[in-house]
């Protein structure tokens, strides 16, 4: 049953299995294990970014296509939900319509970009996605009447998912709409993650892996490489948009900084590389580590700086303001010591 659920793609390492189980149960029981707004915020962010990184891995890790527009697709889903909720009124209908419209728009954009660029060479796809993503970010900032410009906009979600909806108490924790909202994010992310696992372990996924390894060989067997790449690109974009919808639902806000920025694109790239490209499980590990580091590294460094206050140079190096420097150091070290990513390393033991 469990193997069917994960499409027979077992983690193939005890330590990796243990890590994944810790992440899964940590997220499943997050509202009860880690009470507090910040912890729940972090858990929801981890759910969304696991899905987002996994969708990017379908493209980068399984197809070998480099895209810089993934944050743009993420933003399309987020703005889809935001705009639908703003104009159609709060309600589940708006959420579903906005999510589907965002996903459809993202897939359509991906199709057009792919048709123009993937037919020539995959590298053009990277260049074109970079240009289109930059143009889209500028467009969203300029169209402030619709998008709220640089400030973005807040919107209302169904009352059932709001913090004012109190549904009782369980295990000493007040069950509110916010927790219900978290579980919507969690279960939809989980369902889409499992769908991605199903895709990469299907015959279609095997063809993608073959294309990644050598596109001419795949073509010489009889597979139309461009068509497969285009389909993968569209699926990846649609799932990224759905991740964006979940993020907007959780935040009840959309803005260019939270959904469209190049910083998010870099985060996604790092999550996939650190976790291990072409594994899907790697996205779960990479996204969890990155979000935890981004959220708690500063606190950790603050405590370390206090503890080493007597050592002048070290305490200054550990100053919480230098957290980005240390995040960069951690990234360099992880790429150096785990060139195949954490999952690759754990699977091969090398």
């Amino acid at each position: 049953m469990l193997m069917r659920l994960i499409s027979g793609d077992s983690p193939r390492s005890r330590l990796l299995t243990a890590l994944l189980l810790v992440i899964f149960f940590g997220l499943l029981f997050a509202p009860f294990l880690f009470p507090g707004v910040r912890a729940l915020e972090t858990a929801a962010r981890i759910c969304v970014f696991i899905l987002l990184a996994a969708s990017y891995d379908l493209l980068l890790g399984y197809t070998g296509v480099v895209s810089f527009a993934h944050a743009m697709f993420f933003g399309m889903g987020a703005y889809g939900v935001g705009l639908a909720s703003q104009h159609m009124g709060r309600g589940f209908g708006s959420l579903i319509f906005g999510s589907l419209a965002g996903a459809a728009l993202a897939a359509a954009f991906a199709l057009v970009i792919a048709l123009f660029s993937l037919r020539v060479r995959a590298i053009f796809f990277a260049m074109i996605t970079l240009a289109v993503a930059s143009a889209m970010a500028v467009l969203v900032s300029q169209l402030s009447q619709i998008t709220g410009g640089e400030d973005g906009f807040t919107f209302q979600i169904p009352r059932a998912l709001g913090p004012a909806n109190r549904m009782g108490e369980f295990g000493g924790i007040n069950i509110t709409g916010k927790i219900l909202n978290y579980y919507v994010v969690f279960f939809v992310s989980l369902a889409l993650f499992l769908s991605l696992l199903r895709i990469v372990n299907s015959p279609f996924g095997r063809v993608l892996q073959a294309i990644r390894e050598n596109d001419f060989r795949a073509e010489a067997i009889g597979y139309r490489v461009v068509r497969y790449r285009i389909i993968a690109t569209c699926i990846s974009a649609a799932v990224a948009a759905l991740a964006g919808s979940l993020f907007a639902l959780w935040l009840r806000y959309v803005g260019p900084d939270t959904t469209l920025s190049f910083a998010i694109m870099l985060d996604i790239l790092l999550m996939v590389v650190i976790g291990g490209m072409g594994t899907i499980w790697g996205a779960a590990i990479g996204a969890t580590l990155m979000v935890l580091a981004q959220t708690y590294l500063q606190n950790l460094m603050g405590s370390a700086a206090e503890a080493t206050a007597a050592i002048p140079l070290l305490s200054r190096l550990l100053d919480p303001d230098r957290w980005l420097l240390w995040l960069g150091v951690l990234f360099i070290l992880s790429v150096y010591f785990f060139p195949a990513g954490i999952v690759g390393r754990l699977r091969t033991g090398r």
């Binding site: 063809v207 892996q209 050598n214 073509e219 009889g222 597979y223």
Partner: protein, 240 residues
Amino acid sequence: MSDPILRLEGVHTDIAQYHILHGVDLDVPRGAVTMLLGRNGVGKTTTLRTIIGHWTARAGRIAFDGADITAMRTSDRARAGIGYVPEDMGIFSDLTVEENMTLAAVSGPLDPVRRDRIFAAFPPLRTFWRSAAGTLSGGQKQMLSIARAMAEERRLYLIDEPTKGLAPAIVSTMAGALRDLKTEGASILLVEQNFAVAKALGDHAAVMDDGRIIWSGPMQTLATDAALLERLMGLSMEQA
């Protein structure tokens, strides 16, 4: 020769700024093994790659079973019935042997009878069926490469130096598998540097030099004519 399975007429191919094929004319007869011979760098691999569509012919015509395939996509040529075994083996090392074989069966599931025939020809593939192809030895990779081309019924096999760099025992397994293919009536265009293997398998031969076919005829004629062999291939009868 009547109604060849493959016909090349005046095929010219450029790779970047280099003009490699200078008007190749070649007929590959049905149900026979045609050896494409010649020294290194004369255009044998480029000829195979032009036939499968890796390189586009700048001029000339390629007809497969009577149909013009010169402008056809590589994938369509493969689906039309041309199996290609590249010089570098062309296996997918991240995938298992089973996955490599399943992928090669493009028109449906791998036929169990065909799979068993492949196992009989290449026993190590059964042993390593669920192993990553990248972990196989060089000879086993070459077996997988040929087995993959055999995963479906092909009307023509293009095979590029299948015995290159292999141990004598593996060469004999490879030659045996190719002989079986020949017995089944397959049409094969085979590039081979090992003249002993070429002589044993070939029905016809075409010799290339400087991007052209300079001689073609029965293998028997080439193998028994010392002067011709010396002139075309630079080989003495002892070396052959």
